[in-house]
Amino acid sequence: MNIKKKAPCLERRYRFKFDSYGVKIAVGSNSGEFLQKIKDHLPSIFPNCFVLHSRLKPKHDFLITVNNDRLYELYKDGELMTSGDSEENMFKFFCSRLRLTVAEFAVSRVFLHAGVVGWKGKAIVFPAQSFQGKSTLVAELIKRGALYLSDEYAVLDENGLVHPFPKTLSLREMVDKYEQTEYSATSLGGKTSSAPLPVGMVLITQFEPGAKWEPEILSEGRAILEIVPHTIPIRHDPEFSLRVLNKIVNRAIIAKSKRSEAKGFIDLLFELYETNVK
């Protein structure tokens, strides 16, 4: 039996609480410095959408401890999630976990793991997991005049509109294949959308060097099937998630194809959009 290590009782414990998309979270630590760093980064973790609130009753409780050997331990709801000796890695990991918690339990929203841009009044959504080139694709589209909404999550409301989640773009290739550097949409010469947009096209695409672009327009059922693996709250609230996905596939074009390098691919993408999205 796998028994997880329980959170320790701390002599000194700092704490703050916040609400993002209706998800109530408490974050505690025995390191006031580390906690302050997280608090300072909340605006970039949850762009435009969090409220610090000292009196809310949290549903998700995180604790980060640092011991004398500089070993960091992260607990969720009293159980150990992970540990490591790099503050920077723990910080990145924790930020990612915070976002995922909100993405999974957000009230009246469905988060897709996806890149999103606005084009001619509608959103183009690219559901994909990490290392599939979402951010690179989004960056190239921004350079070509598309509005930035997100390089990580498509935040869908109950009417199927996609809301901006304009975190800084995390681009790998500019420095090293695996190390990410953060860029704002403005620094790439782009603009961020301030309003939610209806979805015009969902593109299920995966980067493959030299791949041939052969877009297939999917039926509504197959489209949902392809999007489900990228739908963060699908296990938590399948009914609401599927209802929202149904609205998307009802109105938008859902296409699937492998793609090659982002730059040459953008023209093909725009051509597909012009031909199919009314």
Binding site: L74, N89, L100, F131, L225, V228, I234, L242
Partner: protein, 161 residues
């Protein structure tokens, strides 16, 4: 007629989304999504516990306005069985022929689409699959969709190939 030849569609523990040409079913027990094409969806909807396979075949003939082979209904039932979308397993009717042979036979003879049930599992753990951030090789192990389950790049804080 043997009761096992009266298939019954499972209703418990499923979230069902109807679409014009398909039905999307999410199985809450297995966390799998199934997409039934029009033919498979019609068969599944006809499995009400009263209709025999012969009745379902007739119902399909009425729905499509053309002759339907009973084997085509059996082909759908076999898939629905395999995906756990019927309340209990129905005894296999297509004997002595491989599935491929049956598909070939029906495919040539039928003007309606062969039944298809396409399935996909939801991520085994959303928390794990949606991000490949890590602090140690141990935290990559649980993230099955990441490029490598054992290789945590501690500089980048990501599981890398």
């Amino acid at each position: 007629m043997n009761n096992s030849q009266i298939p019954v569609a499972r209703k418990q523990g499923l979230v069902v989304q109807e679409m014009p040409e398909e039905v999307l079913i999410y199985d809450l027990d297995t966390n799998k999504a199934h997409c039934l094409n029009k033919t498979a969806a019609l068969v599944w909807k006809s499995c009400d516990g009263n209709n025999s396979v012969a009745d379902i075949t007739k119902s399909l003939e009425n729905g499509f306005g053309s002759r339907v082979e009973e084997d085509l209904v059996w082909l759908a039932i076999e898939q629905l069985n395999a995906k756990d979308l019927l309340t209990e397993n129905v005894a296999r009717r297509i004997k002595g022929q491989t599935r491929r042979e049956v598909i070939k036979k029906i495919g040539f003879a039928s003007v309606i689409a062969l039944p298809i049930v396409a399935s996909l599992a939801a991520p085994s753990s959303v928390m794990a699959t949606a991000s490949c951030a890590c602090t140690s090789p141990g935290s990559c192990v649980a993230q099955t969709s990441c490029p490598n389950p054992n290789n945590c790049n501690t500089v980048a804080g990501q599981c890398i190939p």
